[in-house]
């Protein structure tokens, strides 16, 4: 092996490392979505990675439940329940947060590939 061979090996190694970095970055997807459950069954999955504003309606136990997505966050806008706890809660965006509407049997959870600073909250 002469000098140019060694140069070539080094160049190829550098290319290999760059390729690996690219793979690592692409592979590390930052997915985030809101999962809406009715009576423990997944009824709707909403992608939260884009910041667009959108409105969804799902059927709750007491009637329609209006859900709004905005800036990668999600909230319940309107529902029929005695205390309206879930529509009063406002937007959520972290994976340890959830919106729960027991009267309507609706649960909204956030799943995110990003590591959050909290694992759970004692309610």
């Amino acid at each position: 092996m002469n000098k140019s061979d060694i140069k070539l090996i080094i160049i190829i190694l550098i290319i290999a490392i760059i390729v690996l970095f690219v793979i690592a970055i692409i592979g590390n997807d930052t997915s985030k979505s809101a999962l809406v459950y009715y009576d423990n069954n997944l009824v709707l999955s909403i992608d939260l990675t884009d910041k667009s504003e959108q409105e969804y309606i799902v059927n709750g136990y007491n009637g329609p439940v209006k859900i709004i997505k905005k800036d990668g966050k999600i909230k319940v806008e309107e529902e029929d329940s005695p205390l309206h706890l879930c529509s009063r809660q406002g937007f959520i965006e972290k994976s340890y947060e959830s919106i729960v509407c027991l009267p309507n049997k609706i649960v909204i959870k956030i799943v995110s590939s990003k590591q959050e600073e909290l694992d759970t909250v004692v309610r």
Binding site: L20, Y96, L118, T120, V122, R123
Partner: protein, 352 residues
Amino acid sequence: MTKKRKFKKGVIPKLLILLIIFIVIILGVVFVIRKINSLKLKEFTKTLNYMDTVIDIKLYSNNENQANTIIGEIEKIYKHYHELTDRYNSYEGINNVYTINHTNDASKLKIDQDLYNILDYSVNWYYKSNGLFNINIGLLTDLWKGYRDKKEGIPTDEELFKIAGLDIKRVVLYDDNTILTGDVNLDLGGIAKGYATEVVHHYLQSINFDHYLINVGGTVLAGVNSDGGKYTVGIQDPDNANGIIKDGKKELKLNLSNCIVTSSGGYERFYEYDGQRYHHIIDPNTKMPANYMKSVSVITNDAMLGDALSTTLFLMSVEDGQEYIKQFPSVEAIWYTNDNKVVKSSGIKKYE
């Protein structure tokens, strides 16, 4: 011709060797990354809805069948205790709290061993808590729930005065798993979730499964996380459904593994009337919602103890509580006062 051949012989094999080295390196690294990923435990989650609350189960395992079996067993336990302790519905073939409360004649009613054990445990806690932890306050629960459902008014003095018979001595348990009915109105809201969670805890220990995080309303049962380390746990801010309580300006975060955090507070079920908040944890002495603090949380190794203890602490002043928990050496507590201050027992430091 011969010159060209020589050129090929010299350079192309070298390029080939380099190409092979390149491919081998890439494949090697991809293999190692795959291997690391497969060693990482996978997350399995399930949300259940029992005991009037949401139960979030999170397990880490590299065996999907095992994870699903465990989730199934946990669901069975919560369903079982949900049915036993439900005071609003009856279930076929079960004598539960509803049956006990709605049997008006004085008779011995046969109950499930598990329900018997909860009642026995709770009656003992009445004495341990000097009468603060009382499961025989169903009449008060119903009176307040009536107003909470209407979201208007509060019980009149006369209505409160008329509520009698909250004496724990009316809860009579016999050795043959029977209870004397006719004179009791039970509410296991302060113990059912913790009790069931401790049964789940025992089950997980019995099968040597460590990687779990279970959130049952005011109770969090934490094993170890996917790396075998601690979980970071916050305590709900009673005034902000999406926030956690702050100690001064800093959010209070606890690093926990293999323990249980239980919170009691007046923010989960309440209504507002005339600018006042009226919640669901009623002080049997004043017959009013307890108002000593916004919330209290305890860290224990036993979810039954945690549930009974946090309810008890919520029904006494912060100062009395600090004195009271000294009899439980391994227990730590965090009070969140009415003026939004955090008061910690001395051992909380090790979790921060």
